[in-house]
C-alpha cells in the first residue's frame, strides 16, 4: 500500500508496513483557542495547549497541573475508570517481587495507585494508596483499601513516614521534566532513611514495535512549549524526533488508515469514513483526534498481547533487534532485551506500545516532509524535517471504551459531542487519548540521580518498561 501525501508536502512513498504512525496529523492537538487561522493550504495553524496563559512552562509552578494532563490524563482516567480497572488485574512479577521482599510490618505507600492492583499484595505489610483520579480511588476503596485522592507531584504526607514507596506506570503521564523530577523528589521525601522506592515507566524502546502504529506522536512545537528548556529532548534536538504532523486531509487520512487496518477490515472501509476534516476542527472548540486506531481494543487485554501481532511481524522479530538512535542498550547493566514471549506488560495490555522502530524500518523511512503550517521553528514552510531519527517520546495513546461501558457513566456522550473523544462505530467504542511521555534508556536513572537524598540501587528493563529502585540516604 502506498502512502501519498497531499500537495504542499513532498510526495512520500513508503511501504505501508514500515511507515507506521509518523505522519500522523497534529490536528489531534486541538483545544480551546488552539487554531489561530487556516494556513495557505487550508490547513489549520496549530498553537499548543499551554497551562493557563503562560507560554513558558518554566515559569509556571511545577505543581500546577498543565492543561494537557487535565485533558489527556485526568479526564480520561476519570471517564474510563471502571473499564480500565477491569483490565488491570495481572500482577507484574517485578513489582510483586519488590513488595514481597519488604520486611514484615512495613508501611508501603503507592503514589498513583490506579485501581489499587498492588495494594495489599504483601499480606504482612500495610498499604496506603493515593491517586489523582477520584473514580479510580473509589474502586480501590470498595475493595477495602486505605486510600485517598492526592497529587503525586505534591503528596500530603509527612516527611519520612513510609518504609517503602512505589510508583508504577505513573511518571510517564507527567508532561514536563520538572514535574517528573518533583514526583521523584516526593517519593524520596515520604520514605524513611534507608527506605526503598520502586519506579516503573513506559519505555521508548519497546519490545513490540508493531504497536506504535496506534499512537499519535505529538509535534515538536508542542514539545517545546510544554517541556521547555532543560528537557533531555530539547537539549539534543538532533537525536530527538520530530515527527511531524502533516495536517490531516481526507486524502492523507484515508491513505494512512489503510496502513493500520488489519487485512480483513480493509474491505470494511468505505469512502464515507468520518474523519473530522480540518475545517470541522475549527468549528469545534475541543480537541478531536483523527486517525482511527487499529481494531484491537483495550478490552481484549488481559495478557493477550500476542493477538496483536500479525504473523508476519512475529517472524521479523529477532533476538538482536537494534533500536536506532537510542543509546546502546548493551552498555546498560540491565538484562538484554529479547522478544521471547509476548507477555503482558504493566501497561501494554492493550497493545499500546512501541515507539522506536527497529533499524529495518528506519532505513526505509528517510523522508523529507515539508509543512505548510506555522511560521516558526522547524515547521516553517521553507524548512524540511528529516525523519531519520524516529525516537519520539511524546504520544497520545488511545483507549477504547466500549459503548456499553460508556453509557454507564454518561460522561462519554458529552465527551464525544465536545470533541474530547471520538466514536468508533466499527469497534463500538468511544476512543479517548491518553498523554504519555515515554522514557528513553537511562532517562529515568538520570532523572533520579539528579534528585538529592537517594541513590540508585538497581535499574532494569522489563516488559517494555524502564524500572529503577532507589534507596533514601538522607534522614
Amino acid at each position: 500500500m502506498i502512502f501519498a501525501v497531499r500537495r504542499g508536502f513532498s510526495i512520500v512513498k513508503v511501504e505501508a508496513s514500515s511507515t507506521a504512525c509518523y505522519l500522523k496529523s497534529l490536528c489531534t492537538m486541538k483545544g480551546e483557542d488552539i487554531y489561530d487561522s487556516l494556513g495557505s493550504e487550508g490547513f489549520p495553524v496549530l498553537t499548543p495547549i499551554v497551562a493557563g496563559n503562560n507560554k513558558k512552562s518554566s515559569s509556571s509552578k511545577v505543581q500546577v497541573t498543565p492543561e494537557i494532563e487535565k485533558k489527556y490524563v485526568h479526564r480520561v482516567y476519570d471517564a474510563i475508570a471502571p473499564h480500565f480497572s477491569s483490565t488491570r488485574f495481572a500482577k507484574w512479577p517485578k513489582v510483586q517481587g519488590f513488595l514481597n521482599a519488604l520486611p514484615s510490618g512495613s508501611l508501603i505507600l503507592d503514589a498513583g495507585c490506579g485501581n489499587g492492583k498492588y495494594l495489599g499484595l504483601n499480606p504482612n505489610c500495610y498499604f496506603i494508596g493515593c491517586d489523582i483520579s477520584a473514580p479510580l480511588i473509589n474502586i480501590c476503596s470498595d475493595k477495602g483499601n486505605e486510600v485517598l485522592v492526592a497529587d503525586a507531584v505534591n503528596l500530603p504526607y509527612r516527611t519520612g513516614y513510609g518504609d517503602a514507596a512505589i510508583s508504577i506506570a505513573v511518571l510517564h503521564h507527567l508532561s514536563s521534566e520538572s514535574r517528573r523530577k518533583k514526583a521523584v523528589e516526593e517519593l524520596i521525601r515520604i520514605v524513611k532513611k534507608g527506605g526503598l522506592i520502586l519506579i516503573t515507566v513506559w519505555a521508548r524502546e519497546q519490545e513490540d514495535n508493531s504497536l506504535v502504529k496506534k499512537w499519535t506522536p505529538l509535534s515538536q512545537k508542542y514539545v517545546e512549549e510544554w517541556i521547555g528548556p532543560g528537557s533531555p529532548r530539547t537539549r539534543s534536538p538532533s537525536s530527538s524526533v520530530s515527527l511531524e504532523s502533516i495536517s490531516e486531509t481526507e486524502e492523507s487520512v484515508s491513505a494512512e488508515q489503510s496502513m493500520y487496518l488489519p487485512k480483513e477490515s480493509e474491505d470494511e472501509r468505505s469512502t464515507d469514513i468520518k474523519y473530522p476534516s480540518c475545517s470541522d476542527l475549527t468549528r469545534s472548540p475541543a480537541p478531536s483526534i483523527h486517525l482511527e486506531s487499529i481494531s484491537e481494543t483495550e478490552e481484549s487485554v488481559s495478557g493477550e498481547q500476542s493477538m496483536y501481532l500479525p504473523k508476519e511481524s512475529e517472524d521479523e522479530r529477532s533476538t538482536d533487534i537494534k533500536y536506532p538512535s537510542c543509546s546502546d542498550l548493551t552498555r546498560s547493566p540491565s538484562p538484554s532485551i529479547h522478544l521471547e514471549s509476548i507477555s503482558e506488560t504493566e501497561e501494554s495490555v492493550s497493545g499500546e506500545q512501541s515507539i522506536c522502530l527497529p533499524k529495518e524500518y528506519e532505513d526505509e523511512r528517510s523522508v523529507e516532509i515539508k509543512h505548510p503550517n506555522s511560521s516558526d521553528g522547524p515547521f516553517s514552510s521553507d524548512s524540511t524535517i528529516k525523519k531519520s531519527s524516529l525516537c519520539q517520546q511524546e504520544y497520545f495513546v488511545p483507549w477504547h471504551l466500549p459503548y456499553h461501558r460508556a453509557e454507564v457513566s454518561g460522561a462519554s456522550s458529552n465527551a464525544v459531542s465536545n470533541g474530547f473523544a471520538r466514536k468508533d462505530d466499527k469497534k463500538g467504542a468511544v476512543v479517548y487519548d491518553r498523554y504519555y511521555h515515554v522514557f528513553s534508556e537511562g532517562e529515568l536513572e538520570r532523572l533520579a540521580s539528579n534528585v538529592e537524598g537517594a541513590v540508585v540501587v538497581d535499574r532494569f528493563y522489563d516488559k517494555s518498561n524502564w524500572c529503577i529502585i532507589l534507596e533514601k540516604t538522607s534522614s
Partner: protein, 122 residues
Amino acid sequence: MRLLTHNMLSSNIKGVTNGFPLGIEVEKMEEKEVEMNTDFLRNMFAKVEWKALVEAAKTLGYTELPDNVEPSMLESDEFMRRFHHALLELHLEEGVLVCPETGRKFPVNKGIPNMLLHEDEV
C-alpha cells in the same frame, strides 16, 4: 480514613509551615475490625506522633489510649489491643480534615479524604 493515615497526613498548602496534625470534624464514624499484626504495630509505634493519635481517637469517640507511652508498653497485650484499635479500626467515614494553619477544609467522603489543592493553593 483510619487514624494511621491521619497520623501521616499533612496540609501541603503553599506557605504552610506546619500542616500537621489536621483537625478532624466528624459527621460519621465507624468501627471495623481487622486482624492484628504485631510486627506492624511495633513498627508504627516508633513512627506515630502519639499525641496526635490520642487526640484524633478522642475526636472519634475512643478514649482508652494512655496519654503517655514508652516502649515497655509494647509487651502489654492490652496496650497492643488498644493501640491496634485506635490505629486501624476507627474510621472517619464522613467529615472534614482541617488545616491547622489556614483552616482550609479537606473533605472526607465514604472514608476517602480528598487532599487535592486548588491552583491558588499550590
